[in-house]
């Protein structure tokens, strides 16, 4: 057994040209595309944003999902390199499901690849399906590999056949991670000397909160002081803000409702995409992110062991509140909680006082996951929100007409105007209702439905007001010479569900633009066939009169396009 040693020096072998070639060779998308895809996944939870009425804001997107999607879409070569980092592998291991973890552990130290049939013996017949699913998932991530064989199929029948093993890099790295051997630097070098300038955990928390909330504030439209160009660029790139007028978009609103960790990762993946453009080594960047995730909160780490790229990253990550470094030249840096929880499953904690803004972001979640809903919506459309968080207030101001503010509460009203303003920014009625519901005060949560039905109905009605006309791109056909022609065309189009409107009396049919090509082709065929069938000397009809001796009409369209 000799897994390929992932010596530090190996990295250097991967010079730029070589990497590019590898990338070209890989059939997969480019990393930036992969990042884009993952980033998109991060910010468009269900593809059809806001249109699925039953979707809860935080449904679908998880940190695990984001990261795994991203990695799965990376080209093989990149993945190999990434799996040379123990921190990365450890993180992915942690993300795996219990079954996945078991599989990995069992085959980690196996001498030979284990045949699928044997694996099946591990579980009951009922569990087989799950096993296969887990294996497929691990394969997708290339955590496991089946040397020279297609992916395992449920049908793989007999006892023999190809076996399953951990992919070599992954295996080595995981081993290193678990045993603490290998390159120590991959987990970061803790600073030995104490810091002259005391940095407490509380300070780090505050720093992280301020920074991250500043980003979100910018998103919501209440800028708090200067912000880095890079951040704004990220926001625009990700589609969270409309480039034109720098207002929040529907995606952006949805983003606000996510857990902080998901938000951070969404940003980071976007960053990954951009880093590729900035010619930073993607693998290094990603690796460093995973590394950060394994650091200890409260500890400071030496900058000296970082590569140039990683040092650059520190600069980029500071404004997001992920790391703290007193000065650019400081020899140490501190990861904040945003960093150390990058790869953990628990969420960020809120401050001791439930009302405070620390770590609250816009999600209102606490460490224990208990309800911290704070909004009361009354039947007379008045809103009373128990909060002192500027961010939460800013979010409310997007669709509520705020009227008064106390130290721990704001008073406002949901009006037609305030909702219309939100609607014009692209925020949907469902999003507003979901937000209010998920953040509802415990008093309100006793109700079913949580929000007064009249209020949520009215919000939807105000949305409906804006959708009085339903447009569809289409083609209108008229001037059919004969009824049969008309009816045949209708029948054809109907078969494909292309007909949007028809009127047999005046022989008009409106066809969905999707079906334009087909219908046009059909008409062409029909016309040609028709022409051939028309005997010489037949009345002109819609054809220019030609005698039979003339060559048949050209292949031009029998349809006059207006």
């Amino acid at each position: 057994m000799g897994p390929t040693a992932a010596a530090p020096g190996t990295k250097k072998a991967w010079s730029r040209p070589a990497r590019k070639a590898a990338a070209a060779a890989a059939s997969a998308n480019t990393p930036s595309a992969a990042a884009a895809a993952a980033a998109n996944a991060a910010t468009s939870w269900n593809g059809a944003l806001g249109s699925a009425p039953d979707v809860k804001p935080s449904a679908g997107a998880t940190v695990k999902g984001l990261i795994e999607d991203y990695i799965a879409n990376l080209p093989l070569a990149y993945r190999d390199r990434i799996y040379q980092q123990p921190a990365t592998c450890l993180a992915l291991f942690r993300f795996a499901t219990p079954l996945g973890k078991q599989i990995i552990m069992r085959i980690l130290y196996a001498a030979h690849p284990i045949p699928l049939a044997d694996m099946k013996l591990w579980c009951t017949t009922d569990g087989e399906k799950e096993l296969i699913r887990a294996l497929e998932h691990l394969y997708r991530l290339h955590i496991i590999a089946i040397p020279d064989a297609p992916p395992p199929r449920p049908a793989a029948s007999d006892g023999s056949g190809p076996g399953v093993a951990l992919s070599p890099h992954f295996r080595q790295s995981l081993h290193n991670a678990l045993t603490g051997s290998g390159d120590h630097a991959s987990f970061g070098q803790e600073s030995t000397a104490p810091d002259k300038h005391l940095v407490t955990q509380a300070m780090l928390d505050q720093y992280a909160t301020e920074r991250w909330e500043a980003v979100l504030h910018y998103l919501v439209g209440s800028p708090s002081g200067k912000r880095k160009r890079a951040v704004t660029k990220l926001l625009e790139h990700s589609g969270l803000m409309a480039r034109a007028n720098l207002t929040i978009t529907s995606k952006g609103f949805q983003f606000l409702l996510q857990d902080v960790n998901v938000q951070v990762w969404a940003f980071l993946l976007q960053y990954l995409q951009m880093s590729d453009e900035l010619k930073m080594d993607l693998v290094e960047v990603l690796g460093f992110l995973f590394q950060l995730g394994s650091l200890r909160f409260g500890a400071s780490y030496s900058v000296d062991t970082l590569t140039e790229t990683q040092k650059h990253m520190l600069e980029d990550l500071k404004p997001l509140g992920i790391v703290y470094q007193r000065k650019k030249k400081s020899s140490r840096f501190y990861p904040t909680r945003l960093a150390t929880t990058l790869t953990s499953k628990t969420l960020l904690s809120s401050g001791a006082d439930g009302d405070s803004a620390t770590g609250h972001a816009a999600g209102g979640q606490s460490l224990t996951g208990e309800e911290t809903g704070f909004i009361i919506v009354e039947t007379n459309y008045r809103v009373y929100a128990y909060t002192s968080s500027a961010l939460e207030i800013a979010v409310l101001s997007l669709f509520v007409n705020l009227k008064a503010r106390f130290m721990n509460m704001v008073v406002g009203m949901i009006t037609r105007d305030s909702v219309r303003e939100a609607l014009s920014k692209g925020i949907s009625a469902t999003q507003i209702i979901d937000y209010l519901t998920s953040q509802a005060h415990p008093e309100l949560k006793k109700n079913n439905p949580v929000l007064p039905a009249t209020v949520s109905d009215q919000i939807r009605l105000w949305e409906m007001e804006k959708e009085r006309i339903t447009p569809s791109h289409a083609w209108l056909y008229r001037d059919f010479a004969r009824q049969d022609d008309y009816e045949a065309t209708v029948a054809y189009a109907e078969a494909y569900n292309f007909v949007l409107w028809k009127n047999p009396t005046n022989r008009i049919i409106v066809v969905d633009a999707r079906g334009q090509d087909q219908v046009r082709a059909y008409l062409k065929r029909a016309a040609t066939a028709h022409t051939r069938a028309v005997p010489a000397g037949a009345p002109a009809g819609s054809q220019p009169s030609q005698s039979a001796s003339q060559p048949p009409p050209s292949q031009e369209l029998p349809v006059h396009v207006v």
Binding site: I376, N380, R382, A394, K403, R405, F406
Partner: protein, 812 residues
């Protein structure tokens, strides 16, 4: 744009050595508005608000973040704003007590399920004081309930309002008005005011005036009156003359006190000071004086010590033993009579329709036990009040009199009850001799209690006339809503008195005193031809088009069928008479409007009350809002919401609140508003709802007709075909604007109720049911009779008009 005021404030914060822009100085001190100085001070130690990313959002709004949150805020239920607004967490454990407190000192603004809003106003504080609350108590309790430190401004406001209130009283004695106070300083201040000085009657003037009046009356009645005892106007002159020589004043005041104690019957001896002083004012100027006193921040408290009134004859009246008072009715009365039950305060009581206002009035009369005058808005209400009095109290028939156009009796004894209408009392035009006599008699009485029903409907000028001619010790205004679109609420406050109590609609509904209501707004799409016409029409025609919208008719028809089948008693309201008639004829239902005769009205309502199967639904015009003694209904349908009148909406809601079935499990009265989509009716409806929504009512919306009416039902409804719709549109277009408002196009000849009565009468005579053919004959006979008499009537009217016209022509 920078506010110049702000500039000034900014300047003031600069150190003295800094150069002040002297051009601003004049602005600072040249103005007569003395408040500027004060505001500047406030700004200097200005409120410190939280500064964070969202502070800018509250720049033009109310930023109260400068109010420190108390440590124990979580266990307190109130937020107090700088501008006197109060927010109450109704779900807090001690909310009930806080609520009781708040309703005593503040105006409720909105009271839905969880969070209530109130507002402190001068009047609400005045009301608090008049029921005996003291400044210290108010501040103390408020502080104890509040989450935040009470803002200085609010404390000052409360102090300002309450310390000066309760100092001066308006007392009615022997048909004369006196301003009375324990604080001579106050009286002096008042007398220095021009208006009040004008109204002030010196002793001499007073005697003279009274003598003249008495003689006039005597000659008119042909009687001689006994000499009225002369009660000197006390100390007014001495007060005016008294210089700052305190000792002198003291002496004189002591003397005056002695005199007054001897002569003054109504001694107020609960207070610290021992003496009471007063000066008389001229009766016609009472209102002026009251207004002026309010402006001077000494609103007059009107209290009547009825127990110690030995001059006015008592009335033997008690509540009948079977009568029970509900707790909220008791609360009203306790506000009026105070905890000791010794004095009666004037004021307004607000209870939703159907909650038993009448009984509150009757109980008040039974407490005061003096002559009582009740004023209503129409003759039918008069009947109703009289009937209620007889039912719930021990009053005898001879002791209660009705004064209407048809009835001009008096009570037989020295004291009694008179029930009349505002118009009868305040009508200033020509009147019959009898009426004149009656009025003189009423105006010469000294009434212990004046009950003013439906106070929100009556225009202020009518009140004025009433209150200047009628002398009453206590005035009790009863109403369901204090909301008026013309904002004349303040007038009522000083004409009658402060609001003593306002019930919580939701609470009453929750306890089963009034019915719970399911309110729905149904959107009826306009047909394309109606809508096209709507877009092109002027406002007057637009309203008509909205009401006559065929889909609205369909919705109405469907709802009526549905609700009748469910056993409801339905009232359909329409402000527009044209539409009213059309709907009624189309759906074959009885209707009542202004021109409907008294007899027909009574018949229809009787059959409605009885639940006759043909009279389960009735249609009413605006008359239904006030002039009818409406029996309870369980379902209400509004087909025209023409204006944004919140009062009207609340009042109509009241028609279904009395439903007897309200205590049935899960029972709901139903309230439907039919609105034509995409027209101004939508906006009007939204406006109308505001009051009810603030009381806690929820209005569901049905945005599509198809959500209401199942498609298979549509064909069975009217106007399902385009031809019918077109016909309807043409009819509407032809209707003149006048016709649309007041007249109807055809005379009514099928008086359903009348025909039915005639039939019943006939059957009674015959001793049993008639055969179908006989019944038809009876009805036909009745109808012919109606046609004939109506023809004659219109002929008579025509000739009369003609004569008048001739008369005018002659006059030129």
């Amino acid at each position: 744009m920078v506010d110049p005021e702000l500039n000034i404030q900014h300047q003031l914060v600069l150190p003295r050595t800094a150069a002040l822009d002297t051009s601003l100085k004049d602005q600072l001190f040249g103005d007569d508005d003395g408040d500027i100085g004060e505001e500047n001070v406030l700004q200097q130690h200005g409120p410190q608000v939280i500064h964070d990313e969202v502070t800018s959002l509250f720049e033009d709004r109310d930023d109260y973040t400068f109010l420190p949150l108390k440590a124990e805020h979580k266990s307190r239920p109130l937020y107090v704003c700088d501008d006197g607004r109060i927010i109450l967490e109704a779900f807090a454990p001690n909310a009930a007590r806080a609520e009781d407190f708040l309703i005593t000192i503040a105006e409720p603004v909105s009271r839905p399920a969880r969070i209530h809003e109130y507002k402190l106003t001068a009047y609400s504080l005045y009301a608090a004081v008049s029921v005996g609350m003291e400044t210290a108590t108010i501040l103390d309790v408020m502080e104890r309930f509040s989450k935040v430190t009470i803002p200085d401004r609010v404390v000052r406001f409360i102090k300002d309002c309450t310390l000066s209130y309760g100092k001066v009283k308006l007392v009615l004695k022997h048909n004369r008005y006196f301003i009375e106070s324990n604080f001579p300083e106050t009286l002096r201040v008042l007398l220095q005011d021009d208006t009040i000085r004008l109204a002030h009657l010196t002793a001499v003037e007073s005697v003279e005036k009274r003598r003249i009046k008495a003689e006039e009356r005597a000659t008119k009645l042909g009687k001689t009156l006994p000499q009225q005892p002369v009660i000197a106007s006390i100390t007014s002159k001495s007060l005016l003359e008294a210089p700052d020589d305190k000792n002198n004043v003291r002496d004189r005041l002591d003397q005056a006190a002695e005199k007054s104690r001897l002569l003054d019957d109504d001694n107020d001896d609960d207070d610290e000071s021992d003496f009471v002083q007063s000066f008389e004012i001229d009766k016609p100027m009472v209102e002026e004086v009251k207004k002026r006193c309010t402006e001077l921040d000494f609103p007059l408290m009107e209290e009547y010590d009825f127990r110690n009134d030995s001059i006015n004859p008592d009335l033997e009246i008690d509540l009948s033993p079977a009568t029970s008072i509900r707790d909220y009715q008791e609360k009203c009365l306790s506000k009026m009579f105070g905890s000791g039950g010794g004095r009666a305060r004037s004021g307004i009581i607000v209870l939703p329709t159907g909650a038993g206002k009448t009984l509150v009035g009757i109980t008040a009369a039974c407490t005061v036990k003096k002559s009582t005058l009740v004023l209503c808005t129409n003759a039918l209400s008069v009947e109703q009040w009289a009937a209620e009095f007889l039912k719930w109290s021990s009053i005898k028939e001879g002791d209660i009199a009705k004064f209407t156009a048809d009835n001009k009796t008096r009570f037989r004894g020295d004291s009694g009850i008179v029930v009349s209408t505002y118009t009868m009392i305040s009508h200033s035009g020509k009147r019959s001799w009898e009426t004149g006599q009656m009025l003189n008699w009423i105006n010469s009485q000294e009434w212990g209690l004046l009950i003013l029903d439906e106070v929100h409907v009556v225009p202020a000028n009518v009140f004025r006339r009433v209150l200047t001619t009628v002398a009453a010790h206590t005035k009790m205004g009863l109403t369901a809503t204090l909301v008026r679109e013309d904002d004349k609420i303040e007038d009522l406050n000083f004409l009658i008195g402060p609001k003593l109590y306002e019930a919580n609609w939701m609470e009453l509904a929750g306890r089963g005193h009034i019915a719970k209501v399911e309110a729905t707004e149904v959107w009826c799409p306009m047909t394309s031809s109606f809508y096209r016409t709507y877009l092109e029409s002027k406002p007057a025609k637009r309203s008509l088009l909205c009401v006559m919208n065929p889909t609205k008719l369909q919705a109405c028809q469907y709802l009526i069928n549905q609700r009748e089948a469910a056993g409801d008693k339905i009232i359909v309201f329409s402000d527009n008479v044209f539409a009213l008639e059309h709907y009624a004829k189309l759906l074959n239902k009885p209707f009542i409007y202004g021109q409907t005769s008294h007899i027909e009205r009574t018949r229809i309502l009787k059959l409605f009350r009885q639940g006759h199967h043909m009279f389960r639904t009735i249609l009413l015009s605006k008359v239904g809002d006030t002039s009818l003694d409406l029996p309870e209904a369980t379902c209400l349908i509004q087909i025209s919401s023409q204006f944004g009148s919140r009062r009207q909406e609340a009042q109509r809601m009241g028609r279904i609140l009395r439903a007897k079935r309200r205590n049935e499990e899960g029972f709901r009265s139903r309230f439907f508003t039919l609105v034509s989509r995409d027209t101004q009716e939508v906006a009007f409806s939204a406006k109308r709802r505001r009051f009810l929504v603030d009381q806690g009512y929820e209005f569901h919306v049905i945005p599509q007709l198809t959500d209401l009416i199942p498609p298979n039902i549509l064909p069975s409804l009217h106007y399902n075909s385009e031809a019918e719709q077109q016909e309807l549109l043409e009819m509407v277009l032809q209707a003149s604007d006048e016709a649309a408002r007041d007249e109807i196009l055809e005379t009514r000849t099928d008086d359903m109720a009348g025909a039915l009565f005639a039939l019943q009468e006939e059957e009674r005579r015959a001793g049993g049911q008639l055969s179908k053919s006989k019944a038809r004959k009876v009805i036909q006979r009745y109808r012919n009779e109606q046609i004939r008499s109506s023809r004659e009537a219109s002929k008579a009217q025509a000739s009369r008009r003609h004569a008048l016209f001739r008369q005018w022509k002659r006059k030129g």
